[in-house]
């Protein structure tokens, strides 16, 4: 769709222009007509859908997402954002929860049907810092965003999953199979320890002799904030993938803004879709 000239202009732009927004790496963005290769039930309200995407698949970095146009939902004007759960040279997969009309419409689709997607969107997680033990924190569908990076990392670490009940805990077996240590906490105690995942994490951290860890987290905002606070208190980095309502997904409409700390102004808006969704905990100016 895009001429190569346009693309090279675009790269030049980043080299020569002072842009008010912070960019962390650039990927060529594409729009692709994909075909559903597989659509399977995972557990409870969660489903996995694999899409043929030879254009976007090879470009995806962990923590990035796609904008998916729900077919046969004629009265919707917005795409729906989903983290890339798996990606290879031929395809991308999403792990999604049915929560409303868009996800319900997606859920009715069968293998062979086509879906229009744009991606890869957002900055994704940074490379893990060598020497630090990677720690992953996931809540609900947040587990999807964490999978891709774990699959590419040599170094194995610990992953913490939290949720209300057993059916909110996703991908635990996949992390185990990759050689990761898995810690689970559910509020009702139906799997793992009973209570909040922050408590499990605190106990784990207290037992360690060092805090040479680096956190990568995706899940509900309350959970992200709790881990962000710990990162500041205990002096480690926490990369948080933030979830905001989005309209364009590419940085044009300024719907998805999030308050970022700014040394001069106190705070400044950043676009979750373009400048994020991953922010280091110290970057975020949390609401009181």
């Amino acid at each position: 769709m895009t001429g190569t000239e346009t693309k090279s202009c675009f790269f030049q732009f980043f080299l020569c222009v002072k842009c008010p927004f912070v960019f962390r790496g650039i990927q060529p963005l594409k729009q692709e007509q994909t075909r559903i290769l597989e659509h399977r039930h995972e557990q409870a309200d969660y489903w996995v859908m694999q899409l043929s995407a030879p254009g976007i698949g090879p470009e995806v970095r962990p923590g990035q997402f796609i904008g998916l146009q729900a077919p046969r939902l004629d009265n919707a004007v917005l795409r729906r954002p989903f983290s890339v759960y798996r990606a290879d040279n031929e395809s991308v997969s999403i792990l999604y929860k049915v929560v409303g009309k868009g996800t319900a419409a997606i859920n009715r689709l069968l293998p062979g049907e086509t879906i229009d997607i744009i991606g890869p969107l957002g900055n994704g997680f940074p490379e893990a810092t060598p020497g630090l033990t990677p720690v992953r924190i996931g809540g609900g569908y947040g587990a999807a965003a964490l999978q891709l990076q774990a699959r590419t990392l040599q170094k194995k670490g610990t992953v913490f999953f939290g949720g209300r009940t057993a059916s909110d805990i996703l991908c635990a077996d996949e992390f185990k199979a990759l050689g990761w240590t898995v810690e689970i906490a559910t509020e009702d105690g139906s799997v793992g320890s009973r209570g909040l995942v922050t408590d499990t994490f605190d106990r784990w951290l207290d037992e360690r002799s060092d805090t040479d860890i680096e956190l990568f987290a995706c899940g509900p905002e309350g959970m992200l904030r709790a881990f962000g606070d710990r990162a500041v208190d205990r002096d480690f980095k926490a990369w948080l993938s933030m979830d905001r309502h989005m309209a364009c997904g590419v940085g044009a409409c300024l719907t998805c803004v999030i308050k970022k700390n700014d040394p001069e102004k106190g705070w400044q808006w950043a676009r979750c879709c373009k400048d994020g969704p991953v922010f280091e905990s110290r970057e975020i100016a949390w609401d009181e």
């Binding site: 732009f13 004007v77 309209a247 940085g251 300024l254």
Partner: protein, 306 residues
């Protein structure tokens, strides 16, 4: 059917466009956001997000909400200010064969004058679209678009600051759009654009809170298209300056309907979010229509409603 390519070019009050299609302000950023998905050199023009003289932070979140066949927005016109716009995007935009329509706004009449004055000599700026109809800022905004006297003072003020094409963007929520169209013409505007999003609101019945932080916002998307068609039809007959039509355009057929109603050019807005390829499909579709109907030039279709 003829095999000669129809003439797609239009002149909008001095603004020369290679085809009659631009994008609606606020739905396409400042250019780079969609540049990897859309070949910007193909657009008739780009209309950038609203700019005022100084940087502005905009509204709290949530800023948009999807409704049936449309969406509400109350972004609140955040932006880098006139200087920031040129610094951040001037060089980028200059690389394209692309007229740039800068959408401007102010909280007071003098602020409209200031932003136009600051930008008028910039070579990258091809024309000004004057937003007097934003439903989402407390000061100024839609007041200037719904009261002919205040409207006239804004247009006269900016007219005095620039010789570049001036395109006031009219508010849809007025009892007689022709009064505003004529006032614009009388004050020296070169064209008008119609319409901005329509003041609207949605409430969550579980929390009983409005869905937008700003409480109300503006409705855009396919839901407003029939409203926009009527406004364009009425205004185009009342004045001799060209009209840029917009509101819910999501395919070439929608755009052609606007042109038949009297629009000389059209803008694609919310549909960029739905499908970034819309604007290119609209350009190609208009051309295919002209060929199919043996119409030699886009101008021959304008205002041909029976």
């Amino acid at each position: 059917m003829s095999d000669i390519k129809p003439d797609m070019s239009v002149n909008i009050g001095g603004l020369q466009m290679k085809n009659p299609v631009t994008v609606a302000s606020g739905t396409f950023g400042y250019g780079p956001e969609y540049a990897e998905l859309v070949d910007l050199n193909r657009l008739g023009a780009i209309t950038v997000k609203g700019i005022c003289a100084e940087p502005h932070t905009g509204n709290q979140t949530p800023r948009t909400f999807e409704t049936r066949c449309g969406m509400l927005n109350a972004i609140g016109l955040p932006g880098p200010g006139a200087k920031g716009f040129i610094e951040s995007y001037g060089e980028f935009l200059a690389q394209y064969d692309l007229p740039v329509i800068v959408n401007v706004w102010g909280k007071r009449v003098e602020e409209y004058g200031r932003v136009v004055e600051m930008l008028s000599d910039e070579p990258i700026v091809s024309a000004f679209e004057v937003n007097v109809s934003c439903p989402n800022v407390k000061e100024g905004g839609s007041l200037y678009g719904t009261d002919t006297k205040s409207f006239a003072s804004v247009i006269e003020t900016v007219r005095a600051k620039t010789a570049k094409p001036l395109i006031p963007k009219l508010a849809p929520n007025v009892s007689d759009i022709t009064l505003f169209a004529k006032t614009a013409e009388d004050c020296g505007a070169d064209a008008i654009s119609i319409m901005n999003s329509y003041p609207a609101m949605a409430i969550n019945i579980e929390t009983r809170k409005p869905e937008l932080a700003n409480r109300s916002g503006g409705l855009s998307g396919p839901a407003i298209k029939p409203i926009a068609i009527k406004l364009v039809w009425e205004a185009a007959r009342a004045v001799s300056i060209p009209v840029i039509g917009m509101g819910g355009i999501s395919c070439a057929e929608d755009a052609i309907e606007f042109i038949i109603a009297g629009a000389s050019a059209v803008a694609v807005g919310t549909a960029n979010f739905t499908d970034p390829s819309t604007v290119i499909r609209v350009i190609d579709g208009i051309e295919a229509y002209l060929i199919r109907h043996d119409i030699p030039s886009i101008g021959d279709l304008c205002g041909t409603v029976l």
